[in-house]
Subunit: 350 residues, 5 copies
Amino acid sequence: MAYFTKRYHPPGTAPGTLTAHEAHPTRPLRLRLMEFNATLLNEREEIPLPECKTYLERDSITWIHAYGYASPELLRELGEIFGLHPLALEDVLNTGQRPKLEHYDHQLFAVMSLPAWRDEELGIEQVSLFFGKNYVISFYNGDNDPFEPVRKRLRSGGRLRGRGADYLLYTLLDVIIDQGFPVLEELGEWIEDLEDELLDVPSKQTLAQIHELKRDMLLLRRMLWPQREVINQLLREDQSLIDEATRPYLRDCYDHTIQIMDLFETYRDMAAGMMDVYLSSTSNRLNEVMRVLTVIATIFIPPTFLVGVYGMNFANMPELHWRYGYLGSWLIIIAMIGGMLLYFKNKKWF
Amino acid sequence: MAYFTKRYHPPGTAPGTLTAHEAHPTRPLRLRLMEFNATLLNEREEIPLPECKTYLERDSITWIHAYGYASPELLRELGEIFGLHPLALEDVLNTGQRPKLEHYDHQLFAVMSLPAWRDEELGIEQVSLFFGKNYVISFYNGDNDPFEPVRKRLRSGGRLRGRGADYLLYTLLDVIIDQGFPVLEELGEWIEDLEDELLDVPSKQTLAQIHELKRDMLLLRRMLWPQREVINQLLREDQSLIDEATRPYLRDCYDHTIQIMDLFETYRDMAAGMMDVYLSSTSNRLNEVMRVLTVIATIFIPPTFLVGVYGMNFANMPELHWRYGYLGSWLIIIAMIGGMLLYFKNKKWF
Amino acid sequence: MAYFTKRYHPPGTAPGTLTAHEAHPTRPLRLRLMEFNATLLNEREEIPLPECKTYLERDSITWIHAYGYASPELLRELGEIFGLHPLALEDVLNTGQRPKLEHYDHQLFAVMSLPAWRDEELGIEQVSLFFGKNYVISFYNGDNDPFEPVRKRLRSGGRLRGRGADYLLYTLLDVIIDQGFPVLEELGEWIEDLEDELLDVPSKQTLAQIHELKRDMLLLRRMLWPQREVINQLLREDQSLIDEATRPYLRDCYDHTIQIMDLFETYRDMAAGMMDVYLSSTSNRLNEVMRVLTVIATIFIPPTFLVGVYGMNFANMPELHWRYGYLGSWLIIIAMIGGMLLYFKNKKWF
Amino acid sequence: MAYFTKRYHPPGTAPGTLTAHEAHPTRPLRLRLMEFNATLLNEREEIPLPECKTYLERDSITWIHAYGYASPELLRELGEIFGLHPLALEDVLNTGQRPKLEHYDHQLFAVMSLPAWRDEELGIEQVSLFFGKNYVISFYNGDNDPFEPVRKRLRSGGRLRGRGADYLLYTLLDVIIDQGFPVLEELGEWIEDLEDELLDVPSKQTLAQIHELKRDMLLLRRMLWPQREVINQLLREDQSLIDEATRPYLRDCYDHTIQIMDLFETYRDMAAGMMDVYLSSTSNRLNEVMRVLTVIATIFIPPTFLVGVYGMNFANMPELHWRYGYLGSWLIIIAMIGGMLLYFKNKKWF
Amino acid sequence: MAYFTKRYHPPGTAPGTLTAHEAHPTRPLRLRLMEFNATLLNEREEIPLPECKTYLERDSITWIHAYGYASPELLRELGEIFGLHPLALEDVLNTGQRPKLEHYDHQLFAVMSLPAWRDEELGIEQVSLFFGKNYVISFYNGDNDPFEPVRKRLRSGGRLRGRGADYLLYTLLDVIIDQGFPVLEELGEWIEDLEDELLDVPSKQTLAQIHELKRDMLLLRRMLWPQREVINQLLREDQSLIDEATRPYLRDCYDHTIQIMDLFETYRDMAAGMMDVYLSSTSNRLNEVMRVLTVIATIFIPPTFLVGVYGMNFANMPELHWRYGYLGSWLIIIAMIGGMLLYFKNKKWF
């Protein structure tokens, strides 16, 4: 994942300008609509835009899920139909936003991030949510549909059906936030694997892995902290939009964000010390190798000097003609080597 | 202890859903009930669920201690009898929660963590407490029974008997929190042992130990900080649930959490510097070894060159035929070695 | 860029004293004036000072952009005409100020910083803004004109024309702040390049680059944090100067400063770990080299000793006359070398 | 000093339980009483307990100083006579408490720590103070009597005699806090000595010293921060116990705690960088040694090879029979050595 | 500069006690008085103490500047004449105080620190200021007179003459605080020089310099932070002492303290990374040297073994008698050396 993923307009562009990022989007925007209350459930796929409007005027709860790539024209049209603020639409289009909550008149606009592992890579995708008295509009640009379990629950008619749009909003936010648990679980396993590797036989790949881990955690962190703030802001919201009965559920959701942050920070502390352990571990390994090698070399250097002495060609070297000269030289050599071995062993140098 | 110990539902599950984590629990849930006031004490083991209900309707204080593994069905039943919130029950079942205090109508729900050393390993177990006007319900999943001393005090009829359920709650919290002292005492001894080892002869095992120490401290910390917050929240509680007379005791309990945190943070600072000392210490040791070895090698290399010179087979080498040539070469060699030894000694290189 | 770029008077100078920093400014100050409202647009270049005054007395919005080097005399004259506070003028002249917002009676004075990459070097230039009921005066000392897109929008007559001076102020601030995005984008690419280099083949230049990166980030940071504070202060401003309708735009601008800071802090964390990776990476590389070299040397030292033995000139060395003595010595040598190679290979030393 | 010095009861013990820590205390508790007002001064040593009570009922100020080891029985008796809270008495007995201030009805209870160097070792002793309308009771377990100067001032009849018990309390706290200055002075000297050693010739002992310094500072810090908080809380106290005229003195005392903390934090920053300097310094020293040694070895290895060449016994080696062969070989050797020396010198390798 | 520069009384001394620190002060205290208002200016040197009193009773503004060493007797006398609080006088005498602001009835007492480079050494001197309705009394113990520019401005009769004592106080504080700019400018140059040295050829002196830099910055920091707080407190002062018209000037002064702190913190971050760069840089240099040296040694060791083989004296060594034996051995040697050179070159080892 690249570091700079935020899309932005050239400085000086008028605010609320919508510019296309993809010339020919492979997956154009589609709408999926669900209308429900305790007794009724309407589900429609690929509904044309103008028809949506009629649903919002009814008493029932309407959830419009827009997925795929939103072209500027379509967004502008959508914005006009549902009364969405141009600055909010700009944030829907320019993905890579930081999670946040904004108020526009009688509408709340939330940007959330959905983390997921895809092919061993951490990906973060943006979910944009508009929330009003009797509707929720969600935008999602990614491949998977994280909200399928919610649709199932709606169809099977649980508590969700009897509650208002605020409870639907809570349900969607809860899905997004709980996605953090499996991501952190996998992260935890990665860390444990890395630690075992670190203390066992760290390699050059280990270093690259630690680096990648840290980078992924930085990216994850940028997303987790503001997410918690979004839920917190919702909790401090006045009661016109969020019902009193939904609050304990939002509080539970907030508690989850705290647990996720808490666990995440613990992981961060663990990852923080890894580089030190890596350095210690590789330096330990080198020390061991170098010490043994140097001991071997050192042990043979003085005897090599000695045999050099008796390899000299001086005419007058009495030892050369002694009877046990050669034997004696071997004895001296063995004594030298043995002495050094004992000394080094004693000093625990190898 | 694994890093990720939190149990969670798949994202999208309806809130308050209770799912089984163990198919065939080895130790199914049992209830131990104590009913008491200043004059009365009833103690019952393995009481059937519906009977419990009757106790709660009396004026006396009832303490129900549930131990062993709680199956979803049982919990649901319990929840209905005692009016426990489904979100709270979810937290009882999904152990590995972060300590916290929640309000549900006229009930307080506290999650606490009980640390303990088991076979040289730090373990952290969850205790869940429900607290109302005249009852405390405690859930504990572990092996030991930490509350046995409380039961003894109840039987022997001390101050505890004459006080309300809030004092019982304080007593249980106090037991849980004071468990931190022996754990920290052992941690302190471990740190002292490690430091001695560090400055003396650090080995590869020392590195693994430092790493394990740091990990255990991270896990401990995740539990200690929120625990302190729980007591603090209780202190800020309005007086309907916590009696004025119990407050000095809760304050004392809060003071204990501060002392524990304070000591813990001191340990953390101590542990933080260990890796540096380890690196210094091992690098010091290597330096010493390498220096001596290299000095030995260096001292013998020039003489070895010299004896090589007189081992050459040139036809015309006048020195070889000098009378004191051989003796002279020895003198030169001794002078070389001696000179170098003096120089290195002078420079304090060995 | 030098570290100390702030211009200051000798301590003890009277406050509000304006002193020349350039004796013969190469680019003397010039004024560019735009007067507009929903229906009218006047644009004038290099307008003489006294004439400006008349514009401020009209109902339309006037924007005076002063660029080039402001001499003390000119500034003093300007100050008198527009009623600018001497302490503010001192800050206009003594560039290198920290971004800030000051109130002087019915005037706001903002100092902002404009970052830009010029020839691979990060440069930071000061923009000073005076803002009153119906005028904005901007001072800019640099080469480029960052406000050209605003002028274009004014000429093409968008929303900007129908709004007040507060919206013009917002537009100028927005231009300055959004300049952070391309700067951060380039910074992000630099960091990615450096990281690839780090894990691949770090050189001495890499170290200098990391150092330069860190320095640039420190300088950037000094400017980004207070800039955010300026927008925040404007948002908390009472409504006499900033219109209610302009607030959502300022809030959007504030959101941009948060996104910039957030991304910047992520980069900082990334840069923070680089030195460790560099150290690990170079030490890894050295380890590899030294290990192989030492293994080679170590392998040949014992055989060298052995051949030295049989190079001795003792009269009585029976092995020398054995039939397969020479062959035997080779076999021993090969056995020694092979044994060591196997041992080292086994220990994964090379 | 051990890390874990806090005394605690086994978890589950009833609050306020007093347990003996010494079976046969070597120095049993003794009481020293001073009664005074502007005109009167009574001083009594080893006064029996019940007699104390009568003093407290008078209008004059009474100061009871209890020193030596307090047995649980004695403490309980004392507590009953003076109306001391059992939780406070528990803290008097279980020394090693964190400094704190507690309110019990019309009584303040303060735990303070007294640092001192004893035989080059930093020791921290607990002083417990009870303070009411007209009395101060102080408990001190250590060897020296830190309050002797106060007694002298009382006898000589200064301002102290004319003031209330709150001024006496201030005086005692001031003595305890000012004890920090000589302790920090000695700490400062220790740090300066260590730094000189660090940059000069760091040894293994230096590492142990740095470690000890850091440990002592951690222990000191745990005591200094809460001490400051105690004085701060006293300052925020309502005026029933602390007179308005005593406040400037308490504020001065608070200012001293700030100065001590401030200096202490500066020392901590200094100590923090020491390990880095130590590592740099020892690695510098090793570098220097290794470089020179390796240069020596490297210079002699190629000539050794060359003389080996002419030590070969090939039948057909023309150079061996050249007239100036031997001289030539010496010239080549000298050229080799000289060339390398020049090259290394040039590269500043030694 | 020593670390512990604070002067203090032995613990237990009565508060407000003034003790002599110099037996025979070389520069006894002298007074310099200036009385002024918009129309009048009186300047007197070495005025006797009692005469000062009369000036304070007039309507004009009086500034008494006391320089040199203040003996306890003189201070006591001064204190009585001007009504200075004994605790404040203690702080005047015991120099080395932390900057602070104190209120005593209708008087403000400020302790400020004046940093300056003297002979390449950073010195910090204390300035004590008493400020009342119509007077300022300043104490300064150092060599230079930092307030001479203020005197000049008074004589030349600028704005200063027409304002009250609060503006004079501001002017003196401004002089003291602006002294930070030249000090930081020099610090910045020092840092830039050190960084160039670091990346170029770091020596042992560089390490000592970094250490000294860090120490100086720590001492500077201890003084800068509280100084900022003093100005901030003055700004929050009620309007009886500080006039509304003086506030913008004080705010400007506060802005300077913020700029100084901001720059200082940037420097600190720069200095923080220096040790790492130093370590990297020296280790890089060592790596380079060691690698080249080891490569040289390694290249010659195998050929040395080979020539040793043909220096053996076995009776039966067929190669020795081959016609091209000697030539062949040279070819093998050259092949060995060349092969190794190619291999090492290929691996970029030198």
